[in-house]
Subunit: 340 residues, 3 copies
Amino acid sequence: MAWTVSTLAERLGLRFEGDGARAIRRVASLQSAGPDALTFVSRAAFIEALGRTGAGAVIVAPEHADRAPCAVLVSSNPYAAYARAAQLLHPEASAPGIDPGASVDGAARIGADVRIGARAVVQADARIGDGAVIGPGAFVGRGARVGAGSYLGPNVIIAHECELGARCRVQPGAVIGSDGFGYARDGNEWVRIPQIGRVVIGDDVDIGANTTIDRGALDDTVIEDGVKLDNLIQIAHNVRIGAHTAMAGCTGVAGSAVIGRRCTIGGAASILGHLEIVDDVHLSPLSFVTKSITLPGSYSSGMPIEPTTDWRRSVARLRQLDALARRVTHLEREKSDKRS
Amino acid sequence: MAWTVSTLAERLGLRFEGDGARAIRRVASLQSAGPDALTFVSRAAFIEALGRTGAGAVIVAPEHADRAPCAVLVSSNPYAAYARAAQLLHPEASAPGIDPGASVDGAARIGADVRIGARAVVQADARIGDGAVIGPGAFVGRGARVGAGSYLGPNVIIAHECELGARCRVQPGAVIGSDGFGYARDGNEWVRIPQIGRVVIGDDVDIGANTTIDRGALDDTVIEDGVKLDNLIQIAHNVRIGAHTAMAGCTGVAGSAVIGRRCTIGGAASILGHLEIVDDVHLSPLSFVTKSITLPGSYSSGMPIEPTTDWRRSVARLRQLDALARRVTHLEREKSDKRS
Amino acid sequence: MAWTVSTLAERLGLRFEGDGARAIRRVASLQSAGPDALTFVSRAAFIEALGRTGAGAVIVAPEHADRAPCAVLVSSNPYAAYARAAQLLHPEASAPGIDPGASVDGAARIGADVRIGARAVVQADARIGDGAVIGPGAFVGRGARVGAGSYLGPNVIIAHECELGARCRVQPGAVIGSDGFGYARDGNEWVRIPQIGRVVIGDDVDIGANTTIDRGALDDTVIEDGVKLDNLIQIAHNVRIGAHTAMAGCTGVAGSAVIGRRCTIGGAASILGHLEIVDDVHLSPLSFVTKSITLPGSYSSGMPIEPTTDWRRSVARLRQLDALARRVTHLEREKSDKRS
């Protein structure tokens, strides 16, 4: 499917310059774009390369509009405008219909223009919103809800009674609504506590491949609107994640942690349970959060690699750090004793 | 389904006080419980709130029995008693039967009152014990065994010949019996070593969503009775985990590690291979275990976050730690030289 | 199926000594091997045990050939020879055929001797090479390719247009071709960037259970020949991993990282994005790579456990490290002031 430059501009709410009739069929990088491709420049460092692009059109900031050898779409945020253009140019193939090999309970409520793939299972009282896509092998449990326009990749699990808002995207293998890890100790044994809460997910939430989100013990686990979770993330029971927070892969969040809005959380971070992180906190990859964070800002932990022989020495020295500090105190005391 | 207070007390082996005929239908938190709900108080800190609860009944320790405004069930371990009560009040819906869309091999042995969900696959010579539940899309491979009363969530994999005991619960997407990561080096290439051991899992074991447990190379990977594993845990080939050990999410255990009984292992821990951890060891989250642990007790590692500017300074100072220690030694020597 | 010692020797290209007609049916450990089993000795430490083995045959280095009480196969690399022998003795059961419960699109191209399991889904224009095995519940998306002789375990996902070479093995639950984690910021919101690249995987690549590999944003994510990935690994979009690199479980690699050939990467490592690691780099478990590595060699990070009380002290001392360094500098200055 092709869009003309002028139609794209209109749809994206942008001003254009140059050949408005140029047909655009795809997005591409500045280097590889051909005459039917749209590209973008978001940083001044790429202005030189812009002059040499073979693209049919480019999205640029106003101050760079005259540097392009092709049609331009002008935006104060070229990267975001590019993202929206790419969504238009690369829509997902999605012919509605229920695959005859899917298993859809008669008591499920299926909206208009829904697509349900082969081998998918939709149980009783589940509700699938208009235009939603349930991928092959995906599972929507009893009483669960998938909002309008949401997409479940192959083999995604939405367990019973969990709710997913509108326009969410869930990547393959993600599990939403597994039992939380809750046990009472009784002597040497663990007694399982039934997890009767749900997972409640807002609109425009994305969830990565093989990520797991546990249902609440009594109350719900809550993921607010616009949250983006990468792959292989673990969200424990009764966690709450505030709107528009983004979390990179391999991160783990323990039970009942409350994370604020607009936070960014680097990969492989670990956030302990029963603590609170305020809005607008930015955590570097590998951040280890053991207490509440009460002030917005940037926080980090983790020790980058050294050559292995140096690392061995560092580890040994760390073991002696307390003794070293005492030796310095001792030197200081002796000096002040001498003076007095 | 409702239980009276007196029937609950009888079933749980507890003494009750107050209105034994009160009908209880659910569990709830101390704050939100209504007249048909059971709640509990396990810590003195909540005694004040107990006085204001709207619950129909509460489980309390003997010394707090007179503080409740409702019926009480008296237990020396209120939290464990609550866990058992919640299991009674919130049983899983489980009408036995094999979904017509399941694929069950004629040579599989299926016990009484088994439930097999849509799209599940049970291969030849698999044995499914009485009352077991095989979730939609789950897979039980050739010759594998699922013990009586065990539950496999949707899309769980039990690979060929692996064994799961009785009353186990396996959350969605967990993989039991994947090939271990075993290769012999030959020049620049890796030659795969067939993994012909099994995974053998005891009774009352719980396994979290998308957790993976590799089969043994020659001998078996063994998970003993009562072990609880959270989500996204990796257990490598030939690991042995002792009875009643609990392990939180995102933890990895490398090949041939042997972990004792009654250990608790915090989230995102890393345990290297070919080592041994004795019984009753407690590891904090992020613990990095590089050698055997020969004494019971509590162990930790990991560096909690700092503001990013402080962290940068810490990392730089750590790089200089060896030099710093030498400077202190130098100061000490000069001082003692001066004395002598 | 049995092999004689002489046939095994011929097939493996090895010299043998002793009873060439001995029938061998399995591999086993040095301790447990019986008269129909083959075992191996790769380290001098096991020579003593070799004398007591009950094995029917053993693979040994030339210098140990006279120490075995049974037939020997002589190899300069006994462990690699054992791996190849085990592949011969323990072939995978694989009767070709398409299960009637599989969903295979008429426009998919299926090679000779292919096996497709129950509930598997193969979409239009997918190509399955000769002798490939598609496990039960696995998914091969539109236009994707699975090379000759490759094996997909149960519930594996190969998303649309992704390519897998020949003789690859993908363990259950692995996801290849999920969307990369790509967003443009627009005020407080994240705008999704369609991920239109692919994942392109070479020959002889192994991928672990529940591991996830994201498709590229514009260009492809590339895994070269002979790479071995363990379980629960996250590979982000546009990563490139060089030939014959092996990576242990729970490791995460961020977007656009380029990793060289013949690297070994320990478990739970974290490699940040937009950096480059040269060939022949060896990273210990838990390595945290924040910058490019330009020299081959061995690198490490991570702080092993201490008893928890010691660890608390270490953490406190680390917080004071900058101040400690300043105190030492102060002591040094005072001393040199005194001298001058």
